[in-house]
Symmetry: C2
Subunit: 416 residues, 2 copies
């Protein structure tokens, strides 16, 4: 690699400016962004992004699901492009960084290479994937899922939002139903820059998260059937209290996840008492469980330990507890060579880093099922995301983008 | 007491017939009764009760809150009457026995004394108290509370149901705003027969509960403020989970109530997670606590232990937990002479019995604040009450009514 390429740094102020300029599209009073996929605000940011890509000399195409692809030619066009990017849609009360950093960071990589006059061997393709968030249309990450063949294009086009509009209608309404079939743009690999959406990097004072895996997920629906009775006249030993049962399950799940830690989490996010009343012992509770690990064996152990604990609790308390596994997503293991490239870039640039598991799902996890993929994380304040309070620093965003750029240079190769 | 009086037994079939005849007023498809206070169905049962009292030779009066009083003269009218009775209103999906057994049992006592030609020294007054249940108008037990001076009559008359009708309007609409001022009928004491509404007598195979006390009540409103965060990306040690906090509080309350048992209970009946989502760690929960004991010192200990446990849990989990005591009702200690009279009646009649605390509130608890009072409990199936499944056996209902009658005879005295 040339000396120029080795020392290359992105333009931190320009990146920061792009992030804050586009944050006006759907800006909320509290400083966040409301930019639901395929909305008027999403059209605004897509138009901005297309123009920025064209200004940077990229060849821009849109596929049938609205994902935008901007191609920068390489010296050797027989090589598949290195894909980089993320998404520009947000949660209903989202922040300025989730997805946006990875997409505008990819743009910044192109601009920096352009300014430095660096040509890569392989081409580079920057991508804005449609509907990563999934808050208007289900499922989340639908465009990258269709790209890898998990869904047909027609299936996704027919999905409806809560008002009954289909994805197809929404694409047409903003003029983003592209003329290219899904999958038209072949990629050799994919690297996604993202805020962590968790508190680990900040807590440990690390700048770069080298994401080596994505957690697998177990989702359960549960129901406890105890016995509703009078809070005053039912002695403690004769109770069949659904809430006390749930409480033991919550604490058992916490203990089980900790036992299998640090590579495991377990959460009960929803619990609803039927016919609640201040002076009635809860008789019935519906609840959900969410268990995750990046290790398939640990996922099996979580499932086993949880079922065993629940059986014991239910039998001892003489209540019925039913749990149904409603979703099982296997863990993601990113590509070792790409992981090493990210780690090496961080090291070369002098940033502190640690290997990290992604707790959330990302487009890169879908892509990893058909091509080598990896991710770069940067810290976000207090681990807060999917929230208008979501925040990240300019130096961290710049550092992540530098790591992304040097990873790309290492993979694509610099034309000599 | 005469030999006739000593051996006297009520007419079990007649009592059972009255209970099932009146159960038609508001009968539900599932075999329960829906007879909200001052409703059309309540008017039907009141009319039936008035006619039955008149047929039994009683002098019937209605007070300004609709409570019905049927007086049977005694030999010595300078003595205050022995009051017996309960209520004829039910919960929206109530049963055939709660309140009804005590009121129709009182009527059966009168009918039996009439048939046997027994005159008592003191008069006997049977009472149907208005709105014991409190499900249409708050507070529960409002007529007996006004009788003892806890509320003015005008205050109670102005209370509104959910549709905006006042107690006064409801009384007028069924013709039961009586011409007697509240408190017009002085009573020397009051004895109430009731189903237990709990599982103890059935579990121990006892026929009669000699109620020596009523539980005091502590009601709290609580709020837990933790931190809402992503179920996938927040490691277990960094969580501030409101539901895990609640779970510890639920189990701590259970342990504390057991520690102070058997004379203590503690219940968390309501708990609502704010913005619940399957993949979000609960950040905020509102909940209620209900603690009861018949011992004032234990109530203080429950309050102390609970606050200490909650402080420790909140500090350890780095969450905020606020609890507010919203109601404190002191325990009821029934009159020792009346308790002894009930116990002696059960013994004389050969029924198995045990001292028992009332977990629920009753009109007798209100009356006990101004006069000697006591209660007689009989078993109910599985401890179920406030439910269409509420059930009791004919022999148990008859046994309780026999004990009520012999208690009355012992207190009122039989004219020789």
């Amino acid at each position: 690699m040339s000396r120029a390429a080795t020392n290359l740094q992105i333009d931190s102020a320009r990146l920061w400016g792009s992030i804050h300029e586009t944050a006006q599209f759907g800006a909320t009073a509290k400083g966040g962004v409301r930019r639901l996929t395929l909305s008027g605000e999403d059209k605004q940011v897509r138009d901005w992004f297309r123009k920025a890509c064209e200004d940077a000399g990229l060849e821009v195409h849109v596929d049938a699901l609205g994902s935008q692809f901007g191609l920068r030619k390489g010296r050797d066009m027989s090589k598949l492009p290195v894909g980089i990017g993320s998404h520009l849609d947000t949660q209903p009360t989202g922040g300025k960084y989730d997805g946006i950093l990875g997409t505008l960071g990819a743009l910044e990589v192109i601009r920096t290479l352009n300014d430095a006059g660096i040509e890569t061997e392989a081409p580079i393709c920057i991508v804005n994937w449609t509907n990563e968030e999934g808050s208007r249309f289900a499922p989340a990450m639908m465009a990258s899922a269709a790209y890898v063949g998990d869904f047909t294009t027609d299936d996704i086009l027919s999905r409806k939002d809560i008002e009954g509009s289909t994805v197809g209608q929404a694409l047409d309404s903003i003029g983003y139903r592209g003329d290219k079939p899904v999958g038209f743009q072949k990629l050799g690999c994919f690297v996604e820059l993202h805020i962590e959406q968790g508190p680990i990097l900040e807590a440990e004072g690390k700048t770069i998260g080298v994401v080596d895996s994505g957690q697998g997920v177990l989702w359960y629906d549960g129901k406890i059937s105890g016995f509703e009775s009078h809070a005053g006249s039912t002695p403690m030993p004769l109770r069949r209290d659904a809430l006390a049962t749930l409480s033991e399950i919550v604490l058992a799940m916490e203990a089980i996840a900790k036992k299998h830690g640090p590579n495991a989490v377990g959460t009960i996010g929803e619990a609803v008492i039927a016919n609640p009343s201040r002076n009635v012992i809860p008789g019935e509770i519906a609840f959900t469980m969410d268990c995750r690990s990046a290790d398939g064996a640990i996922m099996d152990a979580l499932d086993h330990d949880l079922r065993a604990a629940i059986s014991e609790i239910a039998a001892r308390r003489k209540v019925e507890v039913k749990i149904d596994l409603v979703w099982r997503k296997p863990p993601t293991h990113f590509d070792p060579k790409l992981i090493a490239a990210v780690e090496n870039a961080a090291k070369t640039l002098g940033y502190s880093s640690r290997r990290i598991t992604s707790g959330a799902g990302h487009d890169a996890c879908n892509l990893n099922t058909v091509m080598p993929a990896a991710m770069v994380f940067v810290p976000c304040k207090d681990g807060i995301s999917h929230n208008e309070l979501e925040d990240a620093t300019q130096p961290d965003c710049a550092a992540g983008t530098n790591v992304l750029m040097h990873t790309v240079l290492a993979i694509a190769g610099v034309a000599s």
